[in-house]
């Protein structure tokens, strides 16, 4: 055996892949040839180094990306299947081959064709399209802003009503937090909240108005009053009494005073059943001179529906795992399935906790109440308060505008990214 033949079989020898007949002459050659011995040694080193490479960890977020793609595809399959219920079966996997043999198939094919057409467009074709879309979105958002500021009831999902009977300087103070809680939700004039909570909400999108049964709302109200000197304790007792008679409870309360240990202010957050919010707010307002009264509704239906769907998915997964556990034949299998079950169970429990918390929030409204002594926090009217008010008003308008424009910007960004992605994909496909 010469060196070349010997060398060519070294790897197979190393991996134990040589037959007896092939191994003998090689081993004989190795005994005599130092070069080939060294080559074998070095190949062993290399193979062992490769074998000892540690596994790399999965990058964060990859699992989520995989499943998002898979679920999107699964939904597509289901849609196709239900849209063409007549010809189920093998339809699922040749739907993409653009069948045109039935009217319902044609509908699917139409959108597919648009998508295909778009993904085949060149960068130069994209620019005018994107520009046109940009102008359209701009026009829409401008008209939407005009419509909203004139008191229309358009896309708003968090409606808000503000009364500001007291001093304007105080009412417009920038710390009005409860109104800003709805995911940058839009604020606009709305009908009194009592009429719409817990009922059937209307969601206006485009020109279509869809009635969504059982929308979920979170109600919040805020009342601030001024009372005469020395009346804080009394007011606090009355306020707590009002909460109790409305079947609510105090979640948190505090009283603070000045250096003479006289109480000068009182603050509480109470939970009351949604249906008695207005009565509670009225009664609390009667306790003194109202300086601020404010209520808001936050629509959490989408969150709720999403969480609910995910919970149901997980419960299905758990049931399936339980079935599988019943079929397990060995301890190893059992342990593995059990591990998966306990992980799924943990997720189910945390989702249920979140849902319960949402249920609590929707059935019980939050009412915060504060009372201060007259003169304890003197605010002499000054020319600056007018300037401040104008400034705050301008700021609010700016925020309102930003909230209006944000969705358009998102749409624009999506268009750009989508375009860029398609172009890139096309580039990859054709090169």
């Amino acid at each position: 055996m010469n060196c070349r033949d010997a060398e060519n079989t070294l790897s197979a020898y190393l991996d134990g892949q040589l037959s007896e007949v092939e191994r003998k002459p090689l081993e004989e050659h190795l005994e005599q040839c130092e070069n080939c011995r060294r080559a074998l040694e070095e190949l062993t080193l290399i193979r062992d180094a490769l074998r000892s490479l540690p596994e790399v960890e999965m990058p964060e977020g990859l699992h989520g990306r995989i499943m998002a793609a898979v679920r999107a595809h699964a939904r597509e399959i289901k849609q196709d299947a239900s849209e063409c219920a007549g010809e189920a079966g093998n339809l699922r996997f040749d739907a993409s081959k653009a069948g045109t043999d039935s009217p319902s198939r044609q509908k699917v094919g139409f959108f597919r064709r648009i998508v295909n057409r778009m993904s085949n467009m060149s960068a130069r074709q994209w620019i005018p399209l994107t520009a046109a879309a940009m102008v359209l979105v701009m026009l829409l958002s401008v008209s939407g802003t005009l419509f909203l500021t004139e008191g229309g009831f358009g896309l708003n999902r968090a409606a808000k009503m503000t009364e500001q009977p007291g001093s304007p300087g105080f009412a417009a103070s920038p710390e009005t937090p409860s109104g800003y809680d709805g995911f940058g939700g839009l604020k606009a004039a709305a009908p009194p909240l009592a009429d719409e909570a817990e009922g059937v909400g209307m969601l206006t999108s485009g020109s279509r108005t869809v009635a969504v049964a059982e929308r979920k709302f979170i109600k919040r109200a805020q009342v601030a009053v001024e009372v005469s000197r020395g009346k804080i304790r009394e007011t606090a007792e009355q306020a707590e009494g009002i909460v109790a008679t409305n079947f609510g409870y105090i979640e948190q309360s505090s009283m603070s005073g000045n250096a003479d240990k006289e109480m000068t202010s009182y603050y509480m957050v109470a939970r009351v059943p949604s249906e008695s919010v207005d009565k509670t707010v009225d009664e609390l307002s009667a306790l003194g001179r109202v300086t601020k009264r404010d209520s808001s509704i936050q629509d959490i239906t989408d969150q709720y529906v999403d969480l609910d769907a995910r919970l149901r998915n997980k419960i299905n997964q758990e049931n399936r795992l339980l079935e599988i556990m019943g079929e397990a034949k060995t301890v190893g299998e059992l342990l593995q399935v059990e591990g998966e079950i306990s992980r799924v169970r943990g997720e189910i429990e945390s989702m249920q906790a979140q849902l319960n918390n949402n249920d609590k929030l929707t059935s019980l409204a939050s009412v915060s109440f504060s009372a201060t002594e007259e003169g304890s926090n003197p605010k002499p009217p000054s020319p600056w308060s007018d300037v401040w008010r104008v400034f705050v008003q301008a700021w609010r308008n700016l925020l309102l505008f930003a909230a209006q424009v944000a969705p358009s910007l998102i749409v624009l960004a999506a268009l750009f990214l989508g375009g860029a992605w398609l172009v890139r994909r096309r580039a990859r496909k054709t090169v």
Binding site: E41, I46, E55, V70
Partner: protein
């Protein structure tokens, strides 16, 4: 690892059940990602490919006949996706795939030397595993694929042959030639030292 329940999961997933499929994903995603990452040593590309592999697998699951293990099948889908990717990428680059591998003056050796001035430094800072990995990344993909499947993922010659649709003889020769290429790419000082020494070096890591 051929579990009884896998058959149940595969059946459900092939009917479009994404939850059942998720359990399979959780079981094999790390292996698939590792394979992709070793074939295409770029985190983002390997992530894209891993996602593509599972989506493709989900779509093609009804065609999975169960004549190989599910994991082998998945890995084959992954290898094909990686090779496709490399082919697409290669075509956009100027040099040709068929160009013979540059042996002695490979970019790996040069890179190592550029980094750190002298050969002694190289040996000080890079473990054998690291230099081998760098050398592996400059082996052409036909050979690299076989090395990754055999030495890193631990597949047998037969499994690799099935996976790539080539003969066992081809697997053997590609594996050997790939390893020999790595050997030639390594700095002589590192590879030629006695086994004991290089073991010490690895321990120091």
């Amino acid at each position: 690892m051929a579990l009884l329940d896998e058959q149940v999961l595969i059946e459900k997933a092939s009917e479009g059940d994404a939850d059942a499929f998720e359990i399979l994903v959780e079981r094999y995603e790390k292996g698939v990602y590792n394979l992709a990452y070793r074939l295409i040593p770029d985190r983002d590309d390997a992530m894209d490919i891993t996602q593509e592999v599972f989506l493709k697998a989900f779509q093609a699951l009804p065609k999975f006949r169960g004549d190989s293990r599910f994991s082998t099948w998945l890995h084959r889908v992954c290898v094909n996706a990686c090779l496709d990717f490399l082919r697409r990428k290669q075509r956009t680059q100027t040099y040709s795939l068929d160009e013979p591998i540059n042996l002695k003056e490979s970019s790996v050796v040069r890179e190592v030397r550029d980094d750190s001035g002298s050969v002694e430094d190289v040996i000080e800072t890079k473990s054998l595993t690291e230099t081998v990995l760098m050398a592996l990344n400059s082996v052409d993909e036909a050979h690299r694929t076989v090395i990754v499947l055999s030495d890193i993922r631990g597949y047998s010659y037969q499994e690799i042959a099935d996976m790539l649709g080539i003969s066992i003889g081809t697997v053997k020769s590609r594996l050997h030639r790939g390893r020999m290429t790595i050997r030639k790419l390594l700095p002589a000082e590192q590879i030629a030292s006695p086994v004991v020494k290089s073991d010490e070096r690895r321990d120091r890591r």
